[in-house]
């Protein structure tokens, strides 16, 4: 079976050209600088130099680009000078993400990224195709309804009630919880300081002492101490005020960021898989292949818990192209993505159960790590605190301030008592659990996370001992999965008694060895 070659949408070239120009932006900036800014005033020249060639290139590229579906492969032909034919087997495709910004939507098209786990780059970039073509692409590559007469069922799945829907007020709440806005504020400040957008003269020309005196004069007597410059209290309050303002601004930006990026977040069940649609700019539609979920984590920070909310993220992975040559690493690229950016704690377990029926976070029998771990954590902190105390003592003694160096000695007891309390809480709430089909690990006190990995998804299991572990007869147990990113919570159970660790290790090995890993 082989379909006819499909071409890109006829309005593809502006998108290709735009991406090309974006890729050329550095040379363009370089050229502008090289010309001493002359080019900036010659927009016509710039467009002739860059825009017109980019458009011509894009147009030719659009004409040569085509793709077809065979029995089990997507075949993509591309290339201007060197013709390139790429075969991507459906098996390996683990996501077809559709990206749509408002321009896409105006033209009724989408950029489709065909992603396998091999490397960070998409295996094929269909830029751009119509929505019908995108549906067809998904049907073939993701395989749910490859047989004929699938249109009806496709429509019904489209109308099915969503598994999860995140309303705007939840996103606002998420913005309140998250610190994401900090990045926005930092970016804005950075840009502002670079571009000098604000008028520095305006700032310096203000009569600041006058304004201060004015405010001071209007302040009622009982609050006058606020502005008493003798005590310095005013400075502290001013600082606190600025801090508070910054916090508020960060929160506002966080909310805005989440509203733009995750507006209308919905999860749809689509055959075996899940489909997440979200975002105003860009609008993203991405398929999460349920059977390729390697690991699932539920996280709840302190603020999350105040609102009785949590977030769920999953790591998916696909096979790399192991035929691509000898010595090709068989490791996989990771994609950690949100299953739910924010969800009621009660519903989180339910959603995970729905996605991975074997994983049930309710009614688990949690086993603790060693209680004596708290002592080791405090010891570590004590080792870190000693030089800091000495440094502060020296600073106090040498700096021209009327504080004795001895005051630094307050630091160790305060830090160590707090550390002791925190460590005990942390140890009490950190633990693991083994069920019929999965291993669970939870950790954290103020911010808590639980991660589950099914035995089927375990690649290797290991037990590790640092010299300190060895001395205290402790060990940690770790589980390796496909597509594990460098960040994020994973199964890594520290501070176990050596015998316990060995038991867990052999149990995990037994479970893993019995099952077959499937992509």
């Amino acid at each position: 079976m082989q379909t006819e070659a499909r071409r890109l949408h006829r309005w593809s070239w502006p998108f290709i050209a735009a991406d090309t120009i974006r890729a050329l932006i550095l040379p363009i900036v370089g050229a502008v600088f090289a010309s001493g800014g002359v080019l900036l005033s010659r927009l016509d020249l710039l467009s002739v130099l860059f825009v017109v060639p980019a458009c011509v290139y894009a147009f030719i590229r659009q004409r040569v680009y085509n793709y077809r579906f065979t029995e089990n492969e997507l075949v993509v032909r591309d290339g201007l000078l060197t013709r390139n034919v790429r075969h991507v087997s459906y098996e390996r495709i683990h996501n077809v993400a559709l990206v749509r910004n408002p321009i896409h939507r105006m033209l009724g098209v989408a950029t489709a990224r065909v992603e396998t786990a091999a490397g960070g780059k998409p295996e094929a970039l269909l830029r751009v195709i119509s929505l019908e073509a995108a549906e067809e692409l998904r049907r073939y590559t993701l395989g749910e309804e490859r047989t004929a007469a699938s249109t009806d069922s496709a429509e019904t799945t489209g109308e099915a009630t969503p598994t999860l829907q995140v309303p705007d007020r939840e996103l606002v709440r998420l913005g309140l919880i998250s610190n994401r806005g900090f990045l926005v504020v930092a970016a804005v400040l950075g840009a502002a300081s670079q571009g000098q957008w604000w008028d520095q003269d305006w700032f310096t020309e203000q009569d600041w002492p006058g304004i201060f005196a004015n405010v001071q004069a209007r302040t009622p007597g009982w609050a006058s101490w606020l502005f008493d410059s003798q005590t310095g209290v005013s400075k502290v309050f001013l600082g606190l005020g600025v801090l508070l303002l910054l916090l508020v601004v960060i929160r506002v930006f966080s909310m805005a960021w989440y509203l733009v990026r995750y507006r209308g977040f919905t999860l749809h069940q689509q055959g075996e898989d899940l489909r997440a649609d979200y975002g105003l700019w860009p609008a993203v539609s991405s398929v999460i292949p349920a059977h390729r979920i390697q690991l699932v984590t539920i996280s709840a920070s302190l603020l999350h818990r105040w609102f009785r909310r949590a977030s769920i993220d999953v790591e998916t992975a696909g096979a790399t192209d192991s035929d691509s040559g000898l010595g090709a690493a068989s490791g996989t690229a990771s994609t950690r993505q949100w299953l739910a950016p924010i969800i009621e704690i009660e519903r989180a377990h339910e959603l995970v159960r729905k996605m991975l029926p074997e994983v049930d976070l309710d009614g688990l029998e949690w086993k603790p790590i060693e209680a004596r771990a708290a002592r080791r954590i405090v010891n570590r902190i004590a080792i870190a605190v000693t030089p800091i105390t000495l440094a502060i003592a020296a600073l106090f003694a040498l700096a021209p301030i009327p504080v004795s160096g001895w005051h630094a000695l307050w630091l160790p007891p305060v830090v160590l008592t707090t550390a002791w309390m925190a460590a005990r809480q942390w140890v009490r709430r950190t633990g693991y659990s083994l069920s019929e089909c999965a291993i669970y690990f939870r950790s954290g006190w103020i911010g808590r996370q639980v991660t589950a990995v099914r035995f089927v998804n375990i690649q290797t299991v290991s037990m590790n001992q640092s010299p300190f572990d060895h001395r205290k007869r402790m060990a940690s147990v770790a589980v390796d999965t496909a597509g594990a990113g460098s960040t994020g919570h994973r199964i890594q159970i520290p501070f176990l008694n050596v015998e316990v660790a060995e038991d867990i290790l052999s149990r995990l090995y037994e479970e893993t060895r019995r099952t077959e890993f499937r992509w």
Binding site: A317, G331, S334, Q459, P467
Partner: protein
């Protein structure tokens, strides 16, 4: 016991589900490589300093002091290059059973890792130039994992390495299509 551990040339022994050390000659291989690397790296600054001294850029006493430090560093590096491979070998054990491989290693930071055959993607047997002289090889087991995407067992007798490689390769039908 110590005697039996020394010669692991017999495959039946290697696959018996017991812990085995790798070939003792790998210590020699590692020492040869270690010495060559240490000498190669240390010779460069010596030449530079000597040229500096010869053209008069570095006064005699300073040169002598540098020479002393250089000798000290060289001696300690050579000592390390001599002692470390033996320690590493002492702490390295592997175990092969019906459907898995276990490697136990680490002088200070110790690790026990279990690799089930069902998770092996493919295996490599490689041989460096010095290893070839001694008939040794390195077995690398690839999994779909991340931290454990490729796990190397250095210093097996080459024959054992290839046979283990065959044993560990999954007997599954081709999953390429």
């Amino acid at each position: 016991m110590g005697d039996r551990e020394q010669k692991t040339g017999d495959f039946d022994q290697a696959e018996d589900g017991e812990q085995h050390p790798v070939d003792r000659r790998t210590v020699k291989v590692a020492r040869i490589i270690g010495f060559s690397v240490v000498l190669l790296i240390s010779i460069v600054p010596l030449i530079l300093f000597t040229i500096g001294w010869a053209v008069g850029g570095i006064p005699g006493p300073v040169y002598l002091a540098i020479l002393g430090i250089w000798l000290l560093l060289l001696a300690s590096s050579l000592l390390l290059a001599y002692r470390w491979p033996a320690a590493r070998h002492r702490h390295l054990r592997y175990l092969v059973e019906e459907d898995g491989l276990c490697i136990r290693r680490g002088v200070f930071w110790r690790t026990v890792i279990w690799i089930p055959i069902t998770r092996v993607q493919h295996t490599d047997v490689s041989q460096g130039p010095v290893q070839r002289k001694f008939g040794l090889g390195t077995l690398t087991v690839h999994t779909a994992g991340t931290a454990g995407a490729s796990i190397a067992l250095v210093g097996l007798e080459h024959g054992i390495a290839s046979r283990l490689s065959d044993h560990l390769r999954p007997a599954r039908a081709t999953d390429a299509n």
